[in-house]
């Protein structure tokens, strides 16, 4: 049986090797890893992989785990179609 990949970010299909390579190349924050690899930019917006990436950052750099967890959060929290965002911006008010 062929050995399967170990995925860290399943939404964007980013493997553990790719994350470690990014950290070794100097990306030691969630945002930096995200910009290089797209980990955390998918459907779940990092809900699943944020903690895993932070664990890898703390294992492969001198940044402690709690510091590594501090990433930026942006709206929308969760997937949302652009059409719906436009609705709200236009002010569909209740």
């Amino acid at each position: 049986m062929e050995r399967k990949n170990a995925y860290v970010c399943r939404c964007e299909e980013v493997t553990q090797e790719e994350i470690i390579a990014a950290i070794r190349a100097g990306d030691t924050t969630l945002d930096a890893v995200k910009r290089r690899t797209r980990a955390g930019m998918g459907f779940c917006q990092g809900r699943t992989c944020r903690r895993l990436v932070a664990q890898l950052i703390s294992a492969y750099s001198d940044v402690p785990f709690d510091t590594a967890l501090e990433g930026s959060v942006r709206m929308p929290v969760g997937p949302l179609s652009l059409g719906l965002i436009a609705d709200t911006a236009g002010g569909t008010e209740e």
Binding site: M1, R3, K4, N5, A6, Y7, V8, R10, Q16, Q45, R47, T48, C49, R51, L52, D66, L69, E70, V73, M75, P76, V77, G78, L80, L84, I85, D87, T88, G91, T92, E93, E94
Partner: protein, 368 residues
Amino acid sequence: MKTYDVIVVGAGPAGLGAAIESGKAGASVLLADENDQPGGQLFKQIHKFFGSHDHYAGTRGFQIGQQLLEEAARAHVEIRLSTRVWGIFEDGTVSACTEDESFRCRGTWLILATGATENSLVFPGNTLPGVITAGAAQTMVNLRHVRPGSRAVVVGSGNVGLIVSYQLLQAGMDVAAILEAAPQVTGYAVHAGKVRRAGVPVLCSHTVLEARGERELEEVVVAQVDGQFRLIPGTEEVIQADTLCISVGLTPRWELAALCGCKMDFCGPLGGRLPLHSETLETTCPHVLVAGDLSGIEEASTALDEGRLAGVHAAAALGLLSTAESAEREREIQSRIAALRQGAFGRKRQTSKEQIWSRYHQHQGGGL
């Protein structure tokens, strides 16, 4: 724009408790949840809770949920399901969407009770069909009445892992083993005893190395680890299974709290990153309260009472309860929560909570 006295995000036990208490006092309350059913994790719990009568001992989780829904209806809470809160703007407006509409509304008080996310693990094959989280297994077995497979390996011997193992057995599956990386079981002895008596081996100092299969899970490679969680070479073993159930802890869902601008804190024993908060669930943002797993991973009963406390706090601040009434109500709830934070496991949570409260007061410049 529609305005409410209180907007509660998340209709798990914490959110229901908050909505009920503020609604009962006369506040107009919107309770939004992205799920199509209210109750959060409660409706997945088919087992009886233990503890005291005040904590619904002997009642099954989903029945507690049913009682809470009835209470919420009597308190005139507006419950909106399949409604995800996706943003909170600087002016305090809350944006939420359903499948086909997005709307904005405003609340004088915002109570966040967004619960937690299940932690995952990285190993080769971790996306093979058959590899699922404990929560997913519970949803399948207890809510949808489908078996995820026929033979499972469970990773993690905390309460969730132990309870889910037992529920998989009840659903007619085999549980080949429970793996625990620590040298001893991490959940309650009663739960561990139950699965052991049912013949399930709990393999301590063991972890999962790899999930294998052509198109779906066929076997799990496990191995022993030492006291530093380092792999002991040569201890690999293969276990046949079509289901691998991951139950390695929960992380608070703090995204909305962070968007509000709440100061964040870190507490390992309570699940990691979470919003800094006080004994009465205030955050560093005025008019934003938190409750339940979001303010530290505990249990359904604590989540419910934290929610009630937040609801009372908001109702009192809105002038809907007299000082004496709210003080009396708070005392009652606080004493129940204190009782829940006793015993070996409870004490640890109590100490962690106290550290957070004290950091909250330091941050607010008050000292305790």
